[in-house]
Structures are given as C-alpha cells and as structure tokens.
Symmetry: C2
Subunit: 338 residues, 2 copies
C-alpha cells in the first residue's frame, strides 16, 4: 500500500509501504475511505514534538473493514467504521466510566494517512454504521473520528446547559466544532474568539452569536463587556497555549467550567489564581469513543454541517500540499481521499 511518512520536520512523503497485517487476534484492518490532517499532527510536522523518524503519521480515519482477528466479535468485514485516535478495550474501569482515552490498554493510532490501517482492540475502538453512508456524509463522518468528538467533549467538559452563555477560545477545526457542539447542547449565546474572517463566518454558521477578535487582556475585557461584567458560564479552551488558557480562565464566571481540550504546550497554572477565580478546569484527551454513537446518529439524521470544516480536499498522494496549507493557516482542515 501507499502511506504518508514523516521524514523530518516539514518533510512528509507519500511512499510504498508494507500492507498492514493482523498481529493480535483483537485487531482489524480497514481500507481507508477518508483521512485528514489534525492540528496536533502539526506539532510533529513542525518538529516541536520529539519523534522517531521516519515514521507513519495520521490518526483521523473512517473506512471499510477488510479483515478481522480471530477474537473480534462485533465488527465484520465489509462494514463502514469510525474509530478514535486511541484504541481502547471498552471493558476496563476507565472505559466503563467513559474515559476511553485513559483505557488501561490504550494504544495511540498512527499511520491513518494511508490506504489501509491496522486498528488494535477493534471491538472496543470501532463503531460501525448500519450501512455505508452516502458520499456527502463522508466528511462529517470523518470529523467524528477526532475533531468533532473533541469539540463535543470540550462542550461537555465545560458543563454546557441549555440557556448558557459560552465562550470558545480557538477557531481551528476543534474550536469551530466546539461552537457547533455548544449550540446543539443548548447554549443560547456563543462568543467565539477569532481574528480570521473565513473562520468567523463558519463559526456564525455553526451557531456563534458574537465574535471577539481581540486576544489577551483586551479579549477578556471584551467578553466581560458582553456579559455584564460577569463572565461566561462555560468556556471551551481549544488551543493549548499558556496565553489561551489564561484567556479562557479569565473569561469564565465564578462557578463556571473551562472545558480543556487544546493539547497543552508550556501551560503553567498558578494554584492561587485558579483558586481565587472559583473557576473549574476539566478536560483532557477527548474520549471520542464515548460520543461516537450519538454523533454518528446526528450525522445519519442529516446534519452534514460538521464536514464544512474541511475547506481543502486533496488526493492522499498530495498530502505534502495539505500539510503546507494547514501549517501556513491557508486551510482550516484538509481532507484526503486515497
């Protein structure tokens, strides 16, 4: 098969590789229908995360099951499936509590930007649809694999309740789908922090009622202006920098939650500031598997808007162009078809 390989920072190549094989009896092999580049892939692409290279890359995927191991019981060849970026057994205490990304046997998925992929712990990881979805549903289905599930977890972690005012920090795919999720969970007012016009427009289409273009202190002051000096009931932190975390905490009212899904890089939280703010922090790597059945239902029900975060669609062979476009923020998110 052919697959993307990260050779060095900035150097992604589409190359011939060995076909994936069943290694454990709980594995499945899937033929990829669509895959995509994630904001977190850029940490590797930019050389910020240490990595063993050259190596496979990509963890957002959906596709058709090609083969299963002897112990797989719930997934069958020919089914269309979606999985999360962590394989999970579905049976350990952490999975049972809904925190599949802390599964006692979790394995990080790598190599989804390829024609085929081995998925460990297939029964606990993959969710099959009743039938293969129409092509127009494919982009939205693909978002459920990571960015939609992560945006949803941000909204759930921020304790969104009907009628609340929410702030979304971050206008990447996760932030935009955080807006979408907050709206569907009942937030009445949704303030998105964004400086880029195309992203502001998409955020409004997803349900944002207000846009704050300022950052830092000015951004926080604007949020307080919009909320009568109270702050927001719920804030979604979808970036992961020290500045964005501070912005999120300071935009939250006492007693409110920050739902934290941005992968933290250099974030340090002063205990006394957190304490006296009365703000709660909750989040982590999104346990997307918990939300997959519900999100798939919403999409099969006809809501195909999540897929609109893909503003670039390329053949998988042109993946290097996709990375460049996202790295330079020319694309919000790139979908790749093998």
């Amino acid at each position: 098969m052919r697959a993307a390989v990260l050779h060095a920072p900035g150097d992604v190549r589409y190359e011939q590789q060995d076909d994936p094989e069943i290694i454990q009896p709980t594995d499945a092999i899937i033929r990829i229908s669509a895959t995509s580049v994630c904001g977190s892939d850029l940490w590797d692409y930019r050389g910020i995360n240490p990595a063993t290279r050259p190596g496979p890359i990509g963890h957002e995927y959906c596709g058709i099951v090609e083969a299963i191991g002897a112990d797989v019981t719930t997934i069958k060849p020919g089914q269309f499936v979606i999985g999360s970026f962590f394989a999970s057994d579905g049976t350990c205490p952490h999975c049972q509590a809904g925190f599949h990304t802390s599964c006692q046997h979790r394995e990080l998925i790598r190599g989804a930007q390829a024609e085929a992929l081995r998925v460990p712990l297939a029964d606990g990881t993959l969710v099959a649809t009743p039938e293969a979805p129409d092509a127009n549903l494919l982009p939205s289905m693909l978002t459920a694999s990571d960015v939609l599930g992560t945006g949803w977890f941000a909204a759930v972690s921020a304790n969104i309740q009907p009628g609340m005012t929410a702030v979304v920090v971050g206008d990447g795919a996760v932030g935009l789908l955080g807006v979408w999720s907050a709206r569907r969970l009942g937030a009445e007012r949704i303030i998105v922090m964004s400086r880029q016009e195309s992203r502001q427009t998409l955020a409004r289409e997803f349900g944002a009622t207000d846009v704050v273009a300022e950052r830092g202190k000015e951004g926080v002051a604007h949020v307080h202006d919009l909320t009568n000096g109270i702050g927001a009931d719920a804030v979604l932190e979808c970036v992961g920098t020290d500045e964005s975390m501070n912005q999120a905490m300071r935009s939250t009212r006492p007693g409110g939650f920050v739902g934290v899904v941005g992968l933290p890089h250099g974030v340090e939280i002063r205990g006394d500031r957190l304490f006296y703010s009365h703000v709660a922090l909750r989040g982590g790597p999104a346990p997307v598997r918990r939300f997959l059945p519900h999100l798939i239902d919403l999409i099969l029900g006809g809501d195909t808007t999540p897929g609109r975060v893909f503003d670039q669609i390329l053949p998988l062979g042109q993946i290097a162009d996709g990375y460049r476009a996202m790295d330079e923020r020319r694309a919000i998110k790139t979908l790749l078809m093998p």
Copy 2:
C-alpha cells in the same frame, strides 16, 4: 470591649479596643458567643502572609445580634446568628449562583476574636436560628461559620455521589470535617491521609474507613493499592501546598474531581500533567453562606459531632495560648469563649 490584636509574627495580645459601631446602614453588631482560631490565621501568625500590624484578627464567629443598621430587614437584635468569613450581599449574580465568596461587594471579616464584631451586609451574610441554641450545640454551630462549610464545599466540589470512594488529603479541622461531609453526602469508602493518631481516631469517628499514613509517591501508591489501581472517584484537597495538590491529583481516577479548598501557597500546576490525568479541579474560597441553612439544620437536628474538632477550649483572654497550641500542632482547633 476587649479583642485579640496581632502585633507581630507570634505576638497575639488580648487588649482593650473601641467598641464596634454601625458604620453602614447594612451593618449589624453582634456580641460574640464563641470564636475560634483557623488554620488560615496561622499564615498571618507565622508571618508568611504580609499584613498591616498591629491589627484585628479572626473570622470564625457566632453570637447574639446587638444592633442593626437602618437598612437591615431580615436580622433582628436578640437573634442568634452565624456568618461566613466573607460578608456578601446575597443579591449579585455571583451570590445568586451560590458563589458568595466571589460576591461583587464582598468584604473580608476581620476581628472576630473579640467580645463584639461589626458584620457588614448583615442581610446577605448572617443566618439566624429559630432560637438561641443550647450550649452543647455551640461548638458545632461555630464550625459552620468556616471549617464545616469549607469541608462541605470540598466534598461538593469533589462531586461526591452516593457509593463513591473518596480520599481526603489533610487531617486539620477542614480535612476532618471533609471526611464528615463526604460521609453525609453518601461516600461509601473514605480514605483519610493522616499521620497523627488522635486525628486518625477522630477521622474514623467522622466516617473514614481507611487511613493512609504515607505521603507523596508512597501515599499515592497506597491509595492505588486500596482502589484496585484505579484511583479514587473524588478527592478533597484540604492543605494547599504543592505537594498536597500533587498527591490529590495523582490519587484521583480519570474523570474524577479534586475539590480544592486548601489555601494555595506555592502551588504550580503543569498544564500537560493535569490534561493527561483526566482529573478535574474545582474549588476556591468556600461559599459557606450557601450551605449555612442546611448545616444549621443538621446540627439543630441533633448532629453535634462537628464540634468535636475542638480539642481545646479556652477563655478568650488566653488566646495567645490557643495560637501557640495550634501552631505547634498540639491542638487540632481551639475554641474561645469571651
């Protein structure tokens, strides 16, 4: 009147002072029935907190209303009342949301270790009992003013639900009353981290089922041994040091809450560690006023056990001895009677 005055670190004196007077029409003056020394007073006593000295001290109190300002409507002279360590208006958005310690007009109470005390915002701050309670209820009533309300908030913030396993970090009055609160909120198993035998005994009487004497890594390992390697569902952080916060976070299962009520001194939380732990943090200065009616009801209903945290009772004139005993950890908590 006579009142305690902190002159310098380690130097508390009981001295003649001017009687408190109504300054604002929302004030009340109360004659103190009982007051006490708080763990947080020791930060001042030890000179760790910067302070203007000489100055009044003390914020835990209950007593009889002596006078009220012209605008006070719900509190009457002659009533027995309890208030929190922050005066709150009871009407601003933060009070309405139950976060009275973030009240937009809050004022810190100082000078409760005295014969009489001026309490601002009396209508929003004080809760009166139907009649003056019997003397045997007085110690428990006094705990409701701070340490019981704070322990209760720790348990509420840690999201204690019936049947859960809880860990309490800290065996001071707040930690011990955190055990008491966790039990009454339905925790089935309560692990208290304590090294001192008299405190372990009291913790067991309050509802602790297990004692962990180790600290740091060993303490965390012991908690994991006791919870099948999963961690506790809910953890109450009642100390406020960097070590205790780490111990609390590492004792919590993914998806669990740490209820943070220990006043943080030098606590720094690494964003990535918090993120990958899937642990939620929630707490702050306890909005004791929210819980006062319920806690007073429990005590009037006959539960006089909270008052057992007082293992030293002194005349207010001997307050210097009370500070010394608590500073040297010879007393868990000192009750003072004018």
